[in-house]
């Protein structure tokens, strides 16, 4: 099934960050080779008037740009950055990222809620990056954000779904899409998130710092597609006892 987000049909459930890549040329290749629909772009990396290269020149016109407020320390800065980002990119998709801790790079959920309240009213399609918290997710759903983006593990740690139980509560209880953002280090982590019922994954470090970012993006794409397909079919439950593929008592039911 196709994912609908912010009023747009999204074919690829792999969203890609652009902040840590070794060069901008790779962005174009990753988008093409891994068939990406949505990329995040940190506003602080977009040049207004640089004599040097501009990251936006490497993003194909039909790709959806989700501007990212990274670097914001509070809701006021995030709102200003989002407004500048919209002006620079003509995109009203915004990932609200407010980090109040430069050591662990954890998002400030309280400030994020405040920023989302304003940005939804300003007409943005809002995608808040949060620490996985069900109550915060419900508050954001009530505000009118398009999706919530809880972290699987702290940014860049590649540790996978260390917050799995908390992610499950959000996926089970909120009606808006859940996009797992941050901490995913391997394709299998992404597949696991999709099998849980996440609607998409946003990957940056694991692709950008890979030896071969293009092929790693493709690997993530395959894992995400596999996880989603399995979720839609229905994942079988784990059992503590063997379950023969040919029923042992089938004869009693005329099998």
């Amino acid at each position: 099934m196709c994912l609908v987000l912010g009023g747009k049909r999204i074919k690829s459930r792999l969203f890609v960050g652009t902040g840590k890549l070794p060069n901008y040329e790779l962005i174009k290749d990753i988008i093409k080779e891994a068939d990406i629909d949505v990329v995040t772009v940190a506003v602080r990396r977009v040049s207004k008037d640089s004599t040097r290269e501009n990251i936006l020149d490497y993003i194909p016109k039909d790709t959806i740009i989700m501007v990212n407020t990274s670097g914001a320390r509070d809701h006021k800065e995030a709102i200003k950055i989002a407004l500048i980002g919209r002006e620079l990119t003509n995109s009203n998709w915004v990932k609200v990222e407010i980090e109040a801790d430069t050591k662990y790079l954890l998002p400030d959920n309280e400030e994020t809620i405040k920023a989302c309240q304003v940005l939804v009213k300003e007409g943005f399609k809002v995608f808040p990056y949060i620490s996985p918290d069900l109550i915060v997710s419900k508050k954001l759903e009530d505000i009118g954000v398009c999706a919530v983006m809880p972290l699987g593990a702290p940014i860049g740690t590649n540790k996978g779904l260390v917050a799995k139980e908390l992610l499950k509560t959000i996926i089970n209880e909120v009606k808006i899409p859940v996009i797992v953002d941050a901490g995913i280090g391997r394709p299998s982590h992404a597949a696991e998130a999709m099998e849980l019922g996440a609607e998409a994954c946003l990957i940056n470090t694991a692709i950008a710092t890979a030896k071969d970012p293009i092929n790693m993006a493709k690997a993530f794409k395959m894992a995400i597609d596999a996880g989603r397909r399995a979720y839609e079919i229905g994942i079988l439950k784990e059992k503590e006892y063997a379950d023969a593929s040919s029923p042992l008592t089938g004869f009693l039911r005329g099998v």
Partner: protein, 363 residues
């Protein structure tokens, strides 16, 4: 910050570790203060190689494959302090110059044309009202041209920093020079800079005034026990990180460079020592930026890309008015890496990294 406590900790553990002890430390996710002291005292090249690989991974995790480039801009060499290691010292009989606002704008235009988006404005230790107003004008102008505007000047009052933040200041660089009190007294002979504690506390005023980025450092070679200096610098950084979790913090390990008329015997710090400091500090302070300036040789700077360094100055002039008018005045120190910005970008790319010009948007 209780410096004595950290000095005692350093003195207690400053012996060379066995290779096995050092390797055991490298297997940890988080290393302690004592582990860090042991690593600083380790000279085993095999251990350093293992650590360098880990440092590379950590740096990429936090900063991506990026090297941020900036340019220093010296706007005045008036100085009321007598620091025996500095070319701008009031004891040094050199031509003093304060760029007027038109000259400052010419310099900024020249840097902007090259592609810089981050500027570090420097002055001597000028504590006059005239000097502050001059700095304030420069910050106001810089905001028109650059995304990030940092200063490296004498410490200001909280109100002074706040005034500059309102004009567009985004960051402050302030080096303690040395964390060894005895050495500090010996090398700072005159002026407000003689007050060790006042300087140590000043960076917190900048943070409280609202700058988003601070850079601290010590001048390697001032104190003969430079390992202790590096350890105490990192303790200072750790203290700031814990107290001000929102601020972006970076550190520098500048080594003393000669200047014209220098009459000062300093301790040589080898390339190996510098690499050790960068690599082991990266393991200890994972999220902290590490800055390397053009005072280091080009071949060394090239090899440091990927080992933990996140910021570099490029095509720097350390004379007042050096960008728009070649050889305008006396240099604060002799630049080692004299390559053009384009040459440096080419090297960064060849190493598999992206040359970035800003990490902030002026809001």
């Amino acid at each position: 910050m209780n410096l004595d406590e950290f000095v005692n900790l350093y003195e207690k553990h400053k012996k060379r570790p066995s290779k096995k002890d050092a390797i055991d430390i490298l297997t940890k996710d988080e290393i302690t203060e004592v582990d860090y002291i042991k690593l600083l005292n380790c000279y085993d090249l095999d251990v350093l190689e293992v650590a360098a690989r880990k440092a590379k991974d950590i740096t990429e995790r936090y900063f991506g494959k990026n090297i941020f480039l900036y340019a220093p801009l010296y706007i005045s060499n008036f100085c009321s302090s007598g620091c025996i290691y500095c070319g701008y010292s009031c004891f040094n009989k050199i031509k003093r110059k304060r760029l007027n606002i038109n000259e400052i704008e010419d310099e900024m235009k020249a840097l902007k044309k090259k592609g810089f988006q981050t500027i570090l404005i420097l002055t001597g230790e000028d504590n006059t009202k005239e000097g502050f107003n001059h700095l304030k004008d420069a910050v106001r102008f810089a905001r028109r041209y650059f995304s990030e505007v940092l200063i490296e000047t004498s410490p200001l009052t909280l109100e002074g920093y706040m005034e500059l933040v309102n004009e567009g200041l985004t960051g402050v660089t302030l080096y303690q020079e040395t964390y060894d009190l005895d050495t500090y007294k010996k090398v700072h002979l005159l002026g407000k800079k003689r007050d060790f504690k006042a300087r140590l506390c000043a960076i917190e005023r900048a943070i409280e005034a609202g700058v988003r980025e601070v850079n601290i450092g010590c001048l390697l070679g001032l104190c003969s026990d430079y390992l202790k200096d590096v350890f105490l610098l990192s303790m200072h950084a750790m203290y700031l990180l814990k107290k001000y979790s929102k601020v972006e913090l970076s550190i520098s390990f500048p080594r003393i460079r000669p200047f014209k008329g220098m009459k000062f015997n300093y301790t040589e710090v080898s390339d190996l020592e510098l690499v050790k400091f960068i690599v082991y500090t990266r393991l200890f302070l994972k999220s902290v930026g590490i800055n390397i300036s053009t005072r280091e040789r080009s071949d060394l700077r090239d090899n440091l890309i990927g080992l933990g360094v996140t910021k570099m100055s490029a095509e720097s002039k350390t004379s007042v008015g050096g960008y728009s008018k070649e050889g305008h005045s006396f240099e604060q120190f002799e630049v080692s890496d004299k390559r053009s910005l384009d040459e440096i970008i080419k090297v960064i790319r060849s190493k598999g990294y992206n040359a970035e010009f800003t990490n902030w948007v002026m809001i």
